[in-house]
Each structure stands twice: as C-alpha cells, then as structure tokens.
C-alpha cells in the first residue's frame, strides 16, 4: 500500500464513518453489545497508544526519560483540571526543559 493510498483511504474512511453515524437508523444501537463495544474500544486503543509512546523506544521496550516525565507532567496537569492547551504546553516544556539540561 503506498503512502497516498493509505492517506486517502484513512481520510475517506473516517468521513464515511461519520456519515454512517449521522444517517443510519437508530436501530443500530439496539444491540447493546454494539454500542457497548463502540463506546469502550477507544479507551483500549488510546491507552495502547499512550503506553507504546511512553514505554517504547522504536520497536523495543525502553524509557526515554524526558518523554516519560513529560507524560507524567501532563497527567498532573490533567488532575489539576488544567485546560487542554496548558496540558500540551506542560508536556512540551517538560520534555524540552529536561533535554536542555542534558537528561535523556
């Protein structure tokens, strides 16, 4: 699969998924398992993505300290109910700051 194909398929696919939701009959939600799965699957996927970004370096398990610290700082900011943009800034600043002083 070439890069352009992957991009267009992803783009059009995501659009179609939105169209299905907005135009489909409500009956789709009648099987509780469908709705249940669809609601909980992003939790599994997002968690997996976070876990992989935090605890892998390339394809192997490893720790990049500035990045881990940045995600930890983001978690703290979220606990303190900081606005979305502040959370992102905290993450970037933590990683950048630690690397600037030679960590990791």
């Amino acid at each position: 699969m070439s890069l352009w194909i992957a991009i267009v398929v992803t783009g059009v696919g995501c659009l179609l998924l939105k169209v299905i939701g907005m135009t489909a009959p409500r009956r789709l939600l009648d099987d509780p398992r469908v709705a249940d799965f669809a609601t909980i699957v992003p939790v599994a996927l997002l968690a997996a993505l976070i876990g992989l970004e935090t605890f892998t370096v390339g394809q192997s398990i490893g720790v990049d300290i500035p990045r881990v610290a940045a995600i930890g700082a983001a978690a703290v900011a979220l606990t303190l109910r900081a606005p979305f943009l502040v959370v992102l800034l905290v993450a970037a600043a933590t990683a950048a700051g630690l690397r600037a002083i030679g960590v990791g």
């Binding site: 890069l3 169209v19 789709l28 249940d36 699957v41 996927l45 997002l46 979305f84 943009l85």
Partner: protein, 234 residues
C-alpha cells in the same frame, strides 16, 4: 436578543474556546507528519479529509515506525468509529436534514459533540456545534500546514519537546473516560498490557489493533451479566 448578546452566548464561547485549543494541536500533527516522512500536501489532505485528531496521529505514528500501512489504516479507522457513535446521538439533537446535515457530518468529532451535547436545547446545540466546527476546522488545518512547513526550518522536534505532545493529546482524550469508572481503567490497563506485550515481535500498528481485544473481552463479560441474558439462561 440583540446580535451582540447572541455573539457571546455560552454555546459560542464554549465552541470558540474548545475549537481554538483543539485546533492548535494541529501544529503538533503537521510537525509529526512531516517528521514521519509525509509531504506537506499529504499532511494537509489527511487533516482536511479525516479531520479527526486521534486517527491522524495514530496513522502517522505507524508510518513513523515503518510499520504495516494496512494495520495503521485499520487502527486509524477503528479509532474513527467513535465518531459514528457520536453521529447517532447528534443527528437527533441537531435535527438537520438535507445539505446542512451533509455539511455538518464532516464536523462530527470529540470536541463538537462534547460542546453540542453540553447545551440545554437544540438551538444552542446547533450554535455550539457550528462554532466549534468552524473554529476547530480553521485552526486545525491552518496549523497543520504551518507545522508541516515549519518542520523543515525547525531544527529538532525533540529539542522542543514536540514529540511528547502527541501522547499528551491522547492522554487528555482518555482522561475523562478514565475518571468514569473501574471498567474503563481495567480496559485501559488491558489495552496497554496487550500492546506492550506484543510490540517487540509484531509490526508497528498491529499491537494497537490487538489492544481492541481488551475492549471485546469487556463487552462480552458485560453482555453475560446483562439481566436479559440471565433470564434466558434460566
């Protein structure tokens, strides 16, 4: 209500705040995309067509890791399926038909749904949705291009800590769900465990897809406990 009073009504304020903030994260996307090897055009097309952050970041992550493109696309689409659920809810609340519904469909994402569903009535929901959609779409796409173009000129992504922004975005999206209850926390743990346990021997992108198994298990467990099922079993 006068025009100036309507202009700063809660749905508009919410929409602008959420939309601009979420939209600015497009900077991180544009940067990550070009760093992963996409052209500025490819990054832009993805932002315009898909217009859903988590899916875009997920695909770019797989590309950066040199992984299986098909798996990357599948992961991105699986993440995008939550917009389908949002649409099922929103089509009722917004109540648009015809051309307006078609246009609105493109804007069905986490942020627009959250703002629309937080409003008190249908009229405010529509206003909130439109404001959030407009703000997010403009900011997200402009910053995607800015980030993509600037990456060539910005020396080191990691020096600016921009690589940490992507997992932070995912964490922010996940956070409210994690506070929900134990079930979400267990599924998250399961997802992380499956992904980390398989990443060393599976191509990039596939561990993320496998993590959906954690969600599948949770769904099956929940369905066996459902009252209707128990009654039938007796």
């Amino acid at each position: 209500m006068s025009v100036s009073q309507r202009a700063w009504a809660p749905p508009v304020r919410d929409g602008l705040g959420v939309g601009i903030a979420a939209g600015l994260a497009g900077l991180a996307f544009g940067t990550s995309a070009v760093t992963a090897g996409l052209s500025v055009a490819q990054a832009s097309v993805l932002s315009v067509l898909a217009f859903t952050g988590a899916s875009q970041f997920a695909l770019v992550g797989v590309i950066a890791g040199g992984g299986n493109l098909a798996a990357g696309v599948a992961g991105a689409l699986l993440l995008g399926a939550r917009n389908t659920l949002y649409g099922l809810r929103l089509s009722d609340v917004l109540g648009w038909r015809g051309v307006r519904r078609i246009v609105a469909t493109h804007g069905v994402i986490d942020e627009t749904t959250a703002v629309a569903l937080a409003q008190r009535d249908s009229r405010d929901a529509r206003l909130g949705f439109v404001t959030t959609f407009a703000a997010t779409f403009v900011c997200w796409n402009v910053t995607t291009v800015v980030g993509a173009v600037a990456t060539g000129h910005v020396g080191d992504i990691t020096a600016l800590g921009l690589d940490a922004v992507v997992p932070a975005v995912f964490l922010a999206l996940l956070w409210s769900r994690l506070r929900h209850g134990n079930r979400e926390r267990w599924v998250a743990l399961g997802g992380v465990g499956i992904a980390l346990g398989t990443t060393t021997f599976l191509p990039a992108g596939v561990p993320v897809l496998l993590a959906a198994v954690a969600a599948l298990i949770a769904t099956l467990v929940a369905s066996t406990r459902r009252p209707e099922t128990l009654v039938r079993a007796r």
